[in-house]
Symmetry: C2
């Protein structure tokens, strides 16, 4: 028999001798953290014994011994981020800082200055594997002189390289970007605590080469990728400047930049031709997560800063979806959930911790306001909500400005209202009785904010039908792949700006979502951008994504007869007649 | 019961059913190669069954089955290189070529073009680990167009990157360099079969900044490393040009360059300050094996070619010693052996497969002809052998030219001869009776090839004593560290040009080597350069060196009182009086 005394918890237990301190902690109900299962590898189960920090799993308790253990309150030290995130995210960033002492080599020392630095760092941070670190010849050559200058240095480093050594702790920041086809969203985070310091969004300047992905890809095939690459890199670099200015930091304080975007945005940012994306069978040229030199991609930040490109998943399921997965982590949940990111394409993911499937539907940009005669993005004056009540049409606009057009949420509300009003037949044809044949006028010119007013045409309705049928059919396909029904789905996460404003009831009414899912809708905002932030503040989650991206099953719709059948079934409306 | 028929060997055996084909091969006495022990990991036990190549360890033999197995004659295919090597070296180079088919992606394919290429390559070569390969964004972006051009491509690749894809097999070459303080030796090898295609050596142009390592290091500390780096890189690049011309290949056919040299040459080639090398405790700034881009170091070869810098071992035990270890592989032998590479420093390694120790003695450049009044390198007219027989002095010269000086082998022969002739006392003082006090004239001016003749001064004798005492004391220190005596040493490998010409009997007589080791001497020529070649033609051996370099024990001499004692003991001569 032996005894273990946990001083901080004031618990003393009797144990069999020979067991490890980790086992004793478990027996005492302390729930220690030991992801490696006590193999001595992860270094998470640190405790203090006789004033020394040791791995609990590696210390065995001798016969008759009373082992006095001071647990290191990991839970207490664990920083949980909530601000700016839809869920709790543990702050364990890939960018780290440690203070090291550059000791003079002892006589008989065989290791290089570089190796000694890495070994010293590994002593401070058990997760540093010296063999995995890129050798920085320039820094290695400077170490001798640096040690003569000062013994104490702050090292800022990532899993694969030392980014900076300096005498003052200083600032260290992280930047995340979601490069959308239309909009680029940028976030600046404090690398020391994960706080969001500044946020900015601006239009993607590639718009001058084409409004959508296909037009830009075609431009790139004809004229090369350079113009498209350069302009988006420049925009991101400018945003880094203004984010830094907003936050009162220097550009050189940014050590990691994480970028997500759809596959075409991803390829163009990297300067890779989108040829493989626009020709069947639509595969990415490259898709694995990349860690590059930010400076090589036009980003003027710290000179050794890393550019992290999250993984693309398939030809039209890009790194932005990888970001959404990170933001929601369906793969960690028991319950089956559906995630839909509605943009030009509707990427969706269905599943739970057992199995995940994904697809991309060419939904078209109707919900982004494109191809709709009075369509617009959710800017000032956009009709964002419409309701047909008691024979009257009520609507609201963004910013309460005079109505100038219809954004996505207004569009589906309007179509739902037309169905409520009995003004659409099951094929989506506007019943006669309108002021103008084939047009429903919501806001006449005299009451609108422009000369046109706001109306919906028969052709617009066709676009809405194509878009909603594509998404609805995609959902059917994913459910079939998993062999489940709507009832098995517990949550529906709608990502993107549209998702934030969309009325789920309207979405159900027009058949964008199965009616039974309407109550399960949870808007999650710009989940792609949030995922890019999470990749920076919790490295483990980022690495888990690499595995998930490999495992997730891709359901190809374009060439599927089943999808065509579902699509045609979904084109019409339930009119209740 | 089941039966296995090995068609090529014409052997049929009865086996228990359920065993693997690998086990059946063992039972049949075929000695299959299965380094992973049948875990299905190494892919070395490939056999052909029903026309398909499969891993023998993964195929189980069904009950009552007769399994027909065609072994792939690995031993027969194994190419052993002997030409240009002191020992047999198996040709298994790190630079590989495979022919792959760029297949069109199937519908529903999720992998990127790049991943499909790596997976295809991994099917062809079981040692390729797609996850370990550097992503080449440029090449990844070209794959789509390449497949439209042709389906069949030759891929030239290493463990970490794809170097080239082309439609013709073409040439692929390897280059090895030993950058000595005085001489650079270069070798061009055929990457397809390991043949040596061309050899060249030239003077190290850094000589203009100082004759020895210390002078050059001091120059670098004062003026920066750039001039020293640039001139040696330029020389290596020029040598690449003339080696290519000699062999009738193009520079662009060179895909890997391996460089060894002492730590100072290593650092200067890389552009790293030697500051840490020249100040106590003399540690390298960086020492691990490096794989770099050849183009970044001024080498105009194939654009993605790799520059491999073998590991330095300790501050004054450089990558050249790592090369010697590779050439000799003392670490694979049961017998204990001693390797000495005699140059300005005498680096030595003692040990066997159990344990290896190394040290570096500041022997000085006497054996290279420096600091000796009539000293010279082993060029035409150098006295390379001297014998005192029947009261007469006989000598030979390099190229049978009139004598102009003494090279290292001639120098130790001469000192040994003086001892034979009873003309030296035990303190190394020339006994009187010479024509000129304190000088022994071997070749009078009238018979020499120059106006000076060839002679040895008392001061020269002092230099020889310092050099031989340093080496002899180093040997003592290594033996003490291992707890062995001279009798335990089975072989003494002498590396370097001096070692090739040195008469071991003279070396024993002057006390450079313990007398009992004289008969065990085996000259191994430029073992450092040979090791650089071996690193290129057998990757496994190169990787094994990384492990050995970590394990080898470094014995520091400079600050050791024991070394000082041995050194003083070894300064004198055994005169037999």
């Amino acid at each position: 028999m032996a005894w273990v005394k946990f001083v901080r918890e004031d618990i003393e237990i009797e144990v069999e001798d020979g067991i490890s301190v980790l086992e004793a902690e478990i027996q005492a109900g302390l729930r220690p953290d030991a992801p490696c299962g006590g193999l001595g590898k992860c270094g998470k189960c640190l405790v203090k014994i006789n004033g020394e920090v040791v791995k609990a799993c590696q210390i065995r308790i001798g016969e008759g011994e009373t082992c006095v253990v001071e647990t290191l309150d990991r839970a207490g030290n664990e920083k949980i981020l909530t601000d700016g995130f839809n869920r709790e995210v543990v702050f364990e960033p890939g960018l780290r800082m440690a203070q090291v002492e550059l000791e003079k080599a002892k006589t008989g020392e065989k290791r290089s200055d570089w190796q000694r630095l890495l070994d010293t760092l590994a002593e401070t941070d058990v997760e540093v594997e010296p063999g995995q670190m890129e050798v920085d010849l320039k820094l290695a050559g400077e170490l001798y002189g640096m040690r003569r200058d000062s013994e104490e240095w702050y090292v800022i480093y990532s899993r694969r390289r030392i980014l900076e050594m300096r005498k003052e702790a200083g600032r260290r920041c992280l930047a995340a970007f979601d490069i959308g086809t239309t909009t680029i969203a940028g976030y600046l985070l404090d690398g020391a605590d994960g706080r969001t310091l500044a946020v900015e969004s601006r239009m993607n300047p590639q718009a001058q080469y084409g409004a959508d992905v296909i037009m830009r890809a075609n431009y790139a095939l004809e004229h090369g990728t350079e113009a498209l690459s350069m302009c988006v890199r420049k925009a991101v670099n400018e945003m880094l400047g203004s984010l830094a200015e907003d936050a009162g930091i220097r550009r050189e304080d940014v050590f990691q930049v994480c970028v997500v975007g759809n596959t075409c945005m991803h390829h163009l940012f990297l300067g890779i031709s989108p040829a493989s994306l626009v020709h069947a069978p639509y595969t990415p040229a490259v898709s694995e997560r990349l860690v590059l030199n930010a400076g090589d991609y036009g980003l003027a930040v710290q000179k050794r800063a890393e550019l992290i490109m999250l993984s693309d998943i398939a030809g039209y399921v890009g790194a932005d979806t990888c970001g959404c997965l990170l933001a929601i982590r369906q793969d960690q949940q028991e319950e089956i959930s559906l995630m839909i990111d509605i943009g030009t394409n509707g990427e969706m993911v269905l599943g739970n911790r057992e199995r995940m499937v994904t697809c991309s539907t060419a939904a078209g940009p109707a919900f982004e306001g494109a191809k709709i005669e009075c369509g617009m993005r959710g800017a000032a004056g956009a009709v964002d909500h419409v309701k047909y009540e008691d024979g009257k049409w009520n609507y609201t606009t963004v910013g309460n400005k005079p109505a100038v057009g219809l954004c996505g949420s207004g569009l589906i509300d309007l179509v739902a209202g037309l169905l409520d009003a009995g003004m659409l037949d099951e094929n989506g044809v506007l019943r006669s009785g309108q002021e103008k044949q084939g047009v429903f006028i919501l806001v006449p010119p005299e009451r609108g904010g422009n000369e046109r007013g706001v109306y919906l045409t028969q052709k617009d309705l066709g676009e809405v039908q194509l878009a909603k049928a594509a998404i609805a059919a995609g959902i059917q396909m994913l459910m079939e792949r998993l062999g489940i029904t709507e009832d098995d789905i517990c949550s529906v996460y709608i990502a993107g700006a549209f998702g934030n404003y969309m009325d789920p009831v309207s979405a159900g009414k027009i058949g964008l979502l199965p009616a039974t899912l309407v109550k399960k809708v949870k808007p999650v905002g710009n989940a792609a951008g949030e995922g890019a932030k999470i990749a920076l503040v919790n490295e483990k989650e980022m690495l888990e994504m690499d595995e998930l991206v490999r495992k997730i099953e891709f359901v190809e719709l374009a060439a599927s007869a089943d999808f065509q059948d579902h699509f045609i079934d979904e084109l019409g409306f339930e009119t209740g007649e």
